[in-house]
């Protein structure tokens, strides 16, 4: 909480800059995660083309969950 209150006291441009940095930081994790996820999904589809449909559905689900974290960062940037 103390960090948040200190952040709230810093005014103007610095706050906006920090928010933007926060969004950048929030995008790192999901970026790496989605990279791994899709890469492995492609590998699975290449090894087992008949399972491609199932893999693709699960892949999109995983992407949706991983992506949510980055999007939270994006929304909090505007709050």
């Amino acid at each position: 909480m103390t960090i948040l209150t200190i952040l709230a006291e810093i005014t103007g441009d610095i706050e906006v800059g920090l928010k933007a940095m926060g969004y950048g930081l929030a995008a790192i994790g999901p970026g790496i995660g989605i990279g791994y996820l899709v890469g492995n999904a492609v590998q699975a589809m290449a090894r087992q083309p008949e399972a491609a449909g199932m893999v693709r559905t699960t892949m999109f689900l995983g992407i949706a969950f991983a992506e949510a974290l980055a999007l939270f960062g994006f929304v909090l940037f505007f709050l």
Binding site: M54, T57, F60, L61, I63, A64, L71, F72, V75
Partner: protein, 259 residues
Amino acid sequence: MPAALAAFEFPPVSHLFEWPVVILDGTPLAINKTVVLTGAAALLTIGFFVLGSRKRALVPSGFQNLAESSYELVEENIAVEVMGAEDGKRWTPFLTSLFFFIFFMNIFEVIPGIQFPPTSRIAIPALLAIIVWLMMIFLGMKTQGVGGYFKSSLFPPGVPKVLYLLVTPIEFISTFLVRPFSHAVRLFANMMAGHILLTTFALLSAALWLGKWNAIFLPLPVVGGAAMTGFEVLVAVLQAYIFTILTAVYIGGSLHPEH
């Protein structure tokens, strides 16, 4: 270059999403662009399937073919894939209307002259997510009983008894609080980001067009804007797909608890 960019001023973000009220100002029924577009998406969805199912020829052709293959697309790729053959077929009508309602709202983002997705206002994704959330809880209670539903969702089987102290709060937060929130925010934030992205490219193109070096710098944002428009079409389909498939997962999870 600095002279060209000096004229460029990005409007505050609220400018891109808040529309003036057209009629019935001051009443709860005030109508602005968002309301009109949401209604248009609903009418398009209804019209698409009503027109497609009017003739009911045995061998579909033309419009009926399009409507039937869109229905089958949702049935095969979303409903049956996630919920299984029996439940999937029963829930396809709901999922299809949800998919096309969201898709039509999303695609307004790239249609020239409209270029605003109503889903980029949090109210609409939030309402849809709340409907799905209530359905999820209601169906879970209906099929498993009130106690059974909370037991299966809060106390997942196969966990050592002591760990329930840790697992149950996490499950409660993730199932009943984070789930509807992330369901709504995912659609909303994607469409909002897309809208801001397209606006940025359009404004950059306009600013460079008025600048001195327009012949050199203009092609970049113009090509970028065109490419981003194509990308946003993909996003519109993908987000409708993801919203629908998550709906199927949530409802399917209520109908068939993990054993």
